[in-house]
């Protein structure tokens, strides 16, 4: 397990509220994430997990409370592109760019945003594809890859911006069971390299292997925060116990 530096927060969320019209999706979430920490977020469907991690790169704007990422507060008028550069995101449905090759998917952002020259971007892209184990597919189009391979490309694509934080929103739940392992392996390696990670995932094995903390969401707020061992073996709250029973018997 990575030892998090407990005096150096990179994400601070205080009393975060989010409304979709009348619907109160986040109800005063408080969370502090230290540099290098790996956080696993679990919770029933519709509890606001996606909404919360999407507020951290402001794909969703929150209406009340403060979120500070790497010293920059997320609010109307702040430099969102600058924050998004520091925060990589991996989606449940991959969201690769189907009209670009695998390599172009990875090099697009460094070339467009960081204005990296093409050969340098290609070298970086190949290095990252090597790291996620699919460099030999670099010239193919996403549609020609399996789901697991596509998700690994998506991870490489996010890493290409050299982010300080990585957000994962159920990265393995759209995958066939035999492909889950290859994606989790990449994520574990990343965690061990010291990356700060927020992962929405119900993969207990992953949580036990690399997470520093597990956070349980229900009805738009955090109900329980615990170490992985504590969370899975000795949950404190009734709702946590019920939830764990459900996913164990699923």
């Amino acid at each position: 397990m990575t030892q998090a530096n407990s005096t150096d927060p990179i994400i601070i969320a205080q009393d975060v509220h989010k409304y979709f019209g009348q619907f109160h999706a986040l109800r005063g979430v408080n969370m502090t994430v230290q540099k290098g920490e790996v956080l696993v977020i679990v919770g029933p469907s519709g509890s606001g997990k996606s909404t919360f991690i999407r507020t951290i790169n402001r794909l969703e704007a929150h209406q009340k409370g403060t979120i500070i990422v790497d010293g920059i507060e997320l609010k109307e008028g702040s430099n969102l592109d600058a924050i998004r550069r520091e925060v990589g995101m991996v989606f449940q449905s991959f969201n690769l760019f189907p009209h670009l090759t695998v390599l172009q998917n990875v090099t697009l952002a460094p070339m467009q945003v960081r204005k990296m020259p093409k050969d340098k971007a290609n070298a970086l892209g190949m290095e990252l594809l090597e790291r996620v184990g699919i460099s030999e597919q670099a010239q193919k189009f996403p549609a020609q890859l399996s789901g697991g391979q596509q998700q690994r490309v998506a991870i490489a694509r996010a890493l290409a911006m050299q982010p300080k934080v990585m957000l994962f929103d159920e990265p393995t739940s759209a995958l066939d069971p035999e492909m889950v392992g290859e994606v989790l392996d990449v994520m574990k390696t990343l965690a061990k390299s010291g990356m700060t990670m927020l992962c929405v995932t119900h993969e207990m094995g992953f949580a036990k292997a690399v997470a520093n903390r597990v956070v349980f969401f229900d009805q738009g707020n955090i109900v329980e925060e615990n170490t992985p061992e504590g969370f899975f073996n000795n949950p404190q709250h009734e709702r946590t116990k019920m939830f764990l029973n459900q996913i164990r018997h699923a």
């Binding site: 794909l59 592109d81 998004r84 467009q112 945003v113 996010a158």
Partner: protein
């Protein structure tokens, strides 16, 4: 002796005898129609008419007989292949119907050719194609029509490069072609000189060159997050889609010369075409953009791409695929819409045709038929061209 053979003599009777009542009625009615049409032609028609009529009558009787015999054999259980009788019927009914149509087409074509005024059409054809440019006084400017070549090559090549993801190169090449072509054509772009089909093509090409970027702009603007941009784009699109095109033309034709000065009526008309078409292209663009899953933009933004970078690098290249077919349709529509500019006395294809028809007085039908055929040829080739470009594109993938 098979009783169906009666139909060799009177079509339908054999079918009645074999108790295929429906076929009997059909053959009887066909026989009456065919004899009514064919007999007069057989007696006094032109040579090829007589031949077709004879073939028609023969196949009517032979077909009716063979069909009735086939059904009889099927009814008697002599023919084990049950599909054979219906197949025989289908074959012969197609032959008879085909020959009847051929005979009617022949009659129609003869009638068309016999119209008195084709020579008048022929002598005015160059006017219908290029307008007053055909006049001897304009002879030294005739070569300028070659300007259409770079214009069209520029557009087709530019468009293809644009599609082949060499977007900027395509746009530049297309634009260079249009500019070179227009520079060559410029001295004759004038309602007193250019006219007819050439004018229509000119109006449509410039219309689309201006309407495409304009339409892109309002189409993207319509889904912008900035309220001013979104609202003004929406007003633009809804306004020009709700006003009849003729009104837009009038409006521009009358108002614009006050701003741009006299003699700018033609530009006003081009602008009207472009703006009117841009509102429809705007809707095509919006639909194309919104057909993409939201995840594409979200992934782009989460990588730090700005809104316009996401649009140019990720959304547009994919959305354009979905926009091509309706855009081609819109261009064809635009070409037809140019005919409405004749209402402010632009002598484009339709206007030129109408002026010839009015002047001659006795060739109205022939003139308008000629014009319809020209419109059809141009638009049909356009849609075929677009389809074959699409097909080539699809094979590449």
């Amino acid at each position: 002796m098979n009783i169906g053979a009666l139909s060799f003599v009177i079509p339908g009777v054999g079918q009645f005898a074999v108790q295929t009542l429906f076929l009997g009625i059909q053959y009887l009615l066909a026989a009456i129609t065919v004899w009514l049409v064919a007999l007069p032609i057989l007696l006094s028609g032109p040579l090829e008419g007589r031949i077709i009529a004879l073939a028609l009558l023969v196949s009517l009787h032979v077909g009716a007989g063979i069909t009735a015999i086939a059904w009889k054999q099927r009814a008697d259980g002599l023919e084990k292949n049950l599909a054979k009788a219906p197949r025989t019927y289908r074959l012969w009914s197609n032959v008879i119907a085909g020959l009847l149509v051929l005979l009617l087409v022949d009659l129609f074509a003869r009638w068309l050719l016999s119209l008195p005024s084709w020579s008048a059409v022929a002598s005015n054809l160059t006017f219908i194609l290029i307008g007053k440019l055909r006049a001897p006084s304009n002879a030294e400017d005739l070569w300028r029509l070659w300007g259409f070549v770079p214009l069209m090559i520029g557009l087709v090549v530019g468009w293809n490069l644009f599609r082949a993801k060499k977007g900027l190169l395509g746009l530049v090449l297309g634009f260079v072609g249009v500019i070179i072509g227009t520079v060559i054509l410029w001295p004759i772009i004038n309602n007193q000189v250019l006219g007819g089909l050439a004018m229509s093509v000119m109006l449509a090409l410039w219309g689309i060159v201006l309407a495409l970027p304009l339409g892109m702009l309002v189409g993207i603007g319509r889904i912008s997050e900035i309220p001013v941009v979104r609202i003004s784009s929406t007003i633009w699109i809804e306004l020009f889609r709700s006003i009849p095109f003729v009104a837009v033309i009038f409006w521009f034709y009358i108002c614009l010369p006050y701003v741009l000065g006299q003699g700018t009526q033609l530009y006003a008309v081009v602008l009207a075409l472009a703006i009117f078409t841009s509102s429809y292209i705007g809707e095509i663009v919006r639909a194309g953009l919104q057909s993409l899953p939201k995840g594409q933009t979200e992934a782009s933004r989460s990588l730090g791409l700005s809104g316009s970078q996401a649009m140019i690098q990720v959304v547009l290249p994919q959305a354009i695929q979905n926009m091509i077919p309706p855009l081609v349709g819109q261009f064809i529509s635009l070409f037809k819409d140019t005919s409405l500019t004749s209402i402010v006395s632009i002598l484009e294809l339709f206007g030129a045709g109408r002026s010839v028809a009015n002047r001659l007085g006795n060739a109205t039908f022939e003139i308008y038929l000629t014009i319809a055929v020209i419109y059809f040829i141009v638009n049909y080739s356009l849609s075929r061209l677009a389809a074959s470009l699409e097909g080539a594109k699809a094979k590449e993938r």
